[in-house]
C-alpha cells in the first residue's frame, strides 16, 4: 500500500476535531475497538484499521469532508455496504473511511420515465422491492443483492446472472450525483438516455471509488416479463456443456440467464438446498428464458433440441415459479455451500470467451493438482464470467499465499485466451499486481492520468486498481498478516 503518512497519525486528534466541525460528533468513530468492524470488506484476507470512520448524512457534508481532506492531504476510502470481493473498500492506516450507510433512502420513483432515484446506501434488492407491486424491477442482480448497496454497484459496475440479456450496472444507469476529491459536486446524466459531452457517467461506473464519491443514483427500471421458466440440463462431460452454451448463442437465442456448474459444485449446492440437481452429471446448465408464454415455450423446445444434439444426459423444465426459484436457490447458495467442503474458500472472477470454457476448466484442473488445492467452478456461461472457488484451510501455514498464487495463475490464463482479469468483482487490491498481464505501460499511464485529472494528489482510495509506481513488472506479492504489512513505510518498486 502507499507509504503511511506517520505525521498524520501523530496529529490524529487534530483531524478528529476538524471533522467534528463538519459533521456531528456521533457520526465519527475513531477508537480502535469501534473501527475494528470496518477493517475489511468481503475480501477478509486483507485487514487494516483506518484512522477514523465517518458517516456523513448529506451531500454537503461529503463535499466538506473531501474538501478538508484534500487541503490537508488526507487519504479517503469510500465504502458502501462493504460486500466487495476485491478489497476495494479496504481502509488504509492513515485514511478516513467514508461510509455512506446513512444515505439509505429511495428519493423518487418515476414510472413515467421508468427510473428510480436513490441514495447510494440503498441495497440493490430494495430498489426492486420498491417497484415490484407495479410489476417493475431493477435488472442487475449480483448474488449479494440483499446486502450490497447501489452506490457500490455503480463503483464496481456490478453484474449478476442476467447481464447477458439485460446488461450490467453501466447499461442500467441514467444519472448520478457525485463529489470529487476537491469537494466539487457534479450531476452526471439525469433522466435522459445518454448525455452529451464526454460520458463521465460511463467513466465513473466501475472506477472502484478512485475518481469520486457517489451520493445519488438514478437507475433504469424494467417491466417484469410475462413468463419466466428455467431448464436444468445435465451433461456427462464439461466439453458437452460448453459446446451447448456456444450452440444456444449460435442459434440466435439470448437467454435471460445461463449458468453452469461443475460436478463438485452440483453436489455441494444440492446437499445444501436440495435443489433437485442431476448428481450424476459432470456439468450442469441452468438456462432461464423469459418473454411471452408462446415465446418461452418455443424457446424451451429449441433449447431442448440443442441440448440433445450436444449429448445432454438430463433435462428438467421448471413447472412453476416455486420450482424455478428452487433451481436458482442452489446456484445462489454456491458460495455458502462451499463452506461444507473446506474451512476457507477463495473466489476468483475472470471472464473468458465462451468457446474457451473447456480449455480453461482443463487448465484449472491441472493447476488444482499442481497446487494440491481442490476447486469448484461456477460460471456465468452466458457472458463468459468464471468463478472458480479454491478450497483451502487458512490455518495451514502459507496456504493463503499458495491459494492466491493459484488464483493469479487462473486469471493469467483467462487473459491468455482472450479474456480479462475481472468480470464483476473489480481489481481492488486483490488483482492490482496482475494489471500488467492485460495492459502495457501506455495503457496504465493513460488511466493514471485520468485519475490525476480528477484527483490531483491521488488521495481518493489510493493503492487500489493500479500497481503502485511501476513495480508490477517485478511481480512481488504482498501478504498483509493481521493488518500488518511487512515494512509498511518502505515504498515498493
Amino acid at each position: 500500500m502507499p507509504r503511511i503518512d506517520r505525521k498524520l497519525l501523530s496529529k490524529k486528534n487534530d483531524v478528529i476535531e476538524s471533522l467534528k466541525k463538519i459533521i456531528k460528533a456521533e457520526n465519527i468513530i475513531d477508537h480502535e475497538d469501534q473501527t475494528r468492524p470496518f477493517e475489511t470488506d468481503a475480501l477478509s484476507a486483507y485487514k487494516q484499521q483506518p484512522l477514523a470512520v465517518v458517516f456523513p448524512e448529506n451531500t454537503k457534508e461529503v463535499s466538506k469532508i473531501l474538501e478538508y481532506c484534500n487541503q490537508e492531504k488526507i487519504k479517503v476510502v469510500p465504502r458502501g455496504a462493504g460486500t466487495g470481493l476485491s478489497g476495494g473498500a479496504l481502509p488504509l492506516a492513515d485514511s478516513i473511511l467514508l461510509c455512506l450507510g446513512k444515505f439509505n433512502k429511495i428519493l423518487e420513483i418515476d414510472y413515467k420515465n421508468r427510473c428510480v432515484v436513490a441514495q447510494p446506501g440503498v441495497t440493490n434488492l430494495s430498489i426492486t422491492q420498491a417497484v415490484q407491486d407495479r410489476g417493475f424491477y431493477y435488472a442487475p442482480d449480483p448474488s449479494s443483492q440483499i446486502a450490497c448497496s447501489i452506490g457500490g454497484n455503480v463503483a464496481e459496475n456490478s453484474g449478476g446472472v442476467h447481464s447477458l440479456k439485460y446488461g450490467t450496472t453501466t447499461n442500467n444507469l441514467f444519472g448520478a450525483e457525485v463529489v470529487f476529491m476537491d469537494g466539487s459536486i457534479s450531476r452526471l446524466g439525469g433522466k435522459t438516455y445518454d448525455s452529451e459531452g464526454y460520458d463521465l457517467l460511463g467513466l465513473i461506473t466501475g472506477s472502484e471509488g478512485l475518481l469520486c464519491v457517489i451520493t445519488e443514483v438514478t437507475v433504469k427500471i424494467l417491466k417484469k416479463p410475462q413468463t419466466v421458466k428455467a431448464a436444468l440440463i445435465g451433461f456427462s462431460t464439461i466439453e458437452d456443456g460448453g459446446n451447448c452454451v456456444s450452440d444456444i448463442i449460435a442459434n440466435g437465442i439470448i437467454p435471460a440467464g445461463m449458468e453452469m456448474m461443475d460436478k463438485a459444485l452440483i453436489h455441494a449446492t444440492d446437499n445444501f438446498v436440495k435443489a433437485g440437481y442431476p448428481r450424476d452429471a459432470e456439468s450442469m446448465l441452468i438456462v432461464e428464458l423469459d418473454g411471452t408464454e408462446t415465446e418461452v415455450e418455443e424457446l424451451i423446445e429449441k433449447i431442448s433440441k440443442i441440448a440433445k444434439k450436444n449429448k445432454s444426459s438430463s433435462i428438467k423444465i421448471s413447472k412453476n415459479e416455486k420450482q424455478r426459484l428452487k433451481f436458482w436457490a442452489g446456484r445462489k447458495a454456491a458460495f455458502p455451500a462451499c463452506g461444507d467442503m473446506a474451512p476457507d474458500y477463495y473466489c476468483m472472477d475472470g471472464t473468458i470467451p465462451r468457446g474457451k470454457l473447456a480449455e480453461v476448466l482443463k487448465e484449472i484442473g491441472r493447476l488444482s493438482k499442481k497446487y494440491n488445492l481442490p476447486v469448484a467452478n461456477a460460471f456465468h456461461a452466458g457472458d463468459g464470467n468464471l468463478h472458480p472457488l479454491i478450497m483451502y484451510d487458512a490455518n495451514e501455514k502459507n496456504s493463503l499465499e499458495k491459494t492466491e498464487k493459484f488464483g493469479a495463475d487462473i486469471l493469467k490464463y483467462c487473459v491468455k485466451v482472450g479474456g480479462v482479469l475481472t468480470g464483476e468483482h473489480g481489481v481492488g487490491v486483490e488483482k492490482r499486481e496482475l494489471m500488467c498481464e492485460m495492459f502495457n505501460n501506455n495503457d496504465i499511464q493513460q488511466q493514471i492520468k485520468i485519475k490525476k485529472a480528477l484527483d490531483s494528489s491521488s488521495l481518493l482510495n489510493p493503492g487500489k486498481v493500479y500497481p503502485i509506481l511501476r513495480k508490477c513488472a517485478e511481480e512481488g506479492r504482498v501478504h498483509v498478516h493481521r493488518g500488518k504489512t511487512k515494512f509498511p513505510d518502505i515504498p515498493r518498486f
Binding site: 439525469g190 452529451e196 459531452g197 411471452t292 418455443e298 471472464t351 480479462v420 495503457d443 493513460q446 492520468k449
Partner: protein, 427 residues
Amino acid sequence: MSIEEKQNSPTYQDSDSTEYPQNEKKVSEFVRQFYKSNIPIELVGSGSKRKIGKPLQCAKILNLSKLNGIIEYLPEELYIKVKACTPIDQIEEELKKNKQQLAFEPIDFGYLFLGKSDYGTAAGQVACNISGPRRFKVGSVRDHVLGFRGVNGKGEIIKSGGIVVKNVTGYDLSKLVCGSYGTLVALTEITFKVLPTPAASTTLVMHNLKLEMAIDLLGQAINSSNDISGATFLPTEPECAGSEMNIESTFKLNDLKYGGSFTAIRIEGTRNSIEERIQNLKNELKIIDYDVSILATYQSEIFWNKVKNLEVFSATKNNLIRIVIPSSQCVQLVYQLSSTKFKYYLDWGGALIWMEACELTEEIFDSIRKKVIKHGGYISMIKPSDHLPYVEEVFTINMNRFNISQNIKKSFDPKRILNPGKMYTGI
C-alpha cells in the same frame, strides 16, 4: 455556390495538408510528429458526419480511411473486431450472413446531408454515439463497444476493454471515447458487441392521434411487458416554409394507410410471439377500435430504416436539431416550442425529438436550449444551414462538467491537437 460547396471544392483544399496513414503504427508516428511541432489535426474517416460539431480549421488532416477491414468476427462469441474506419455497411453485410446485427441501429446521416445513403465508418458511429430507434430497449452505441485501440494526443498507442461483455478491469475508457468526436483519441480498432437479428418484425401504426394521446400510448407500450423495440410519433405536417418534408411521400408502403399522424410501435421476435404481443398491446392500450395499419417484416424494416435515417428531412436546406429529454417532458416542451417555425418527429417514446428548424437564428436556438435544459434535457445542432451556418454552442454543457471535461481532454491530449474545439471551445 453554397459555403459548404466552396469548402469542398478542389481549389479550397490543400492536397499536402492531408495524410493517409496505412496502419496504427503510422497513425502513431504522425500524431507524435504533430505533437512535437504543435500542429492541430482534424481526424477524418469517410467524412459522412464531418458537419456535425464545430467546423475545424486545422493545419493537417489525418484521414484514417485506410484503416479498413474486419479483423475478427466470431458469431458464437457475439463480437466483431474491426479496423476503425471499416464502412458500417460492410460490417452489417458480414453480420447479416450469420443473422446478426449491430443492435443499436447505426444511423445513415447521408440522407440528411446529401439526400442519399452515405453510411460512414465504425469510428464515425463511435465518435458521435448517436443511436437509432431501438435505443430505449438495447442501449446506445456506447453500450455496444466492448473495447478499442487508438492513438492519444501524444502519439501513444493505448487500448481499453476487450472482447467480452463482462469486464471491470480498469476504467471503462470505451464509454469515454464514445461521443467524444475524435477529441481524445484517433481510433484505430473497435470491438463491437453483436446480437442475433430477430426472426421477424411487425409494426403497429395507429392513425391520426394527437400528440398527447400518442405519447401516452407509446409510454404505456414501453412500460408494458410486451418488449417493444420502437416507439415513434410522426405528426401531421405543420407549415414550414422552405422545407420539403413530407411524411406521406417518404413512407410509401402498400399496407400503410394515409391521412393524419402516425403513431408506430415495433415488435420483434418469433412470429407467434409477435402475434401474441400485438393482441396484448391492443387490449392493454384499449385500441381495439382504433384505425390501425399492420406492417409485416419487409415493410416494417423499411419503415424503421426511414425513421432511423431521418429520411423525412432528406437533403433539407434548414438546420436540424436533436433534442433528448425525459419522455414525461416531451408534450410540454413541444408546445413551448410552437412559436418557432419547425417540423419534427418523436422517437424513443417521446424522449428524442428530431427537429428541422426554419429561419433559425442564434437567439432562437439559444432560447430553445434554455427550454430544453429547464426540462432536464440536452440539445445539439446536427446540421448547419446556409441561413445559420455556425452557432456558438453546438452541444450542451454546464460550467462544472466543462471543467471536468477539460481536465479529461488534457489527460489524453495535453497540447489539444486532436480535433481541437470540435465539441466545445477550449476542449
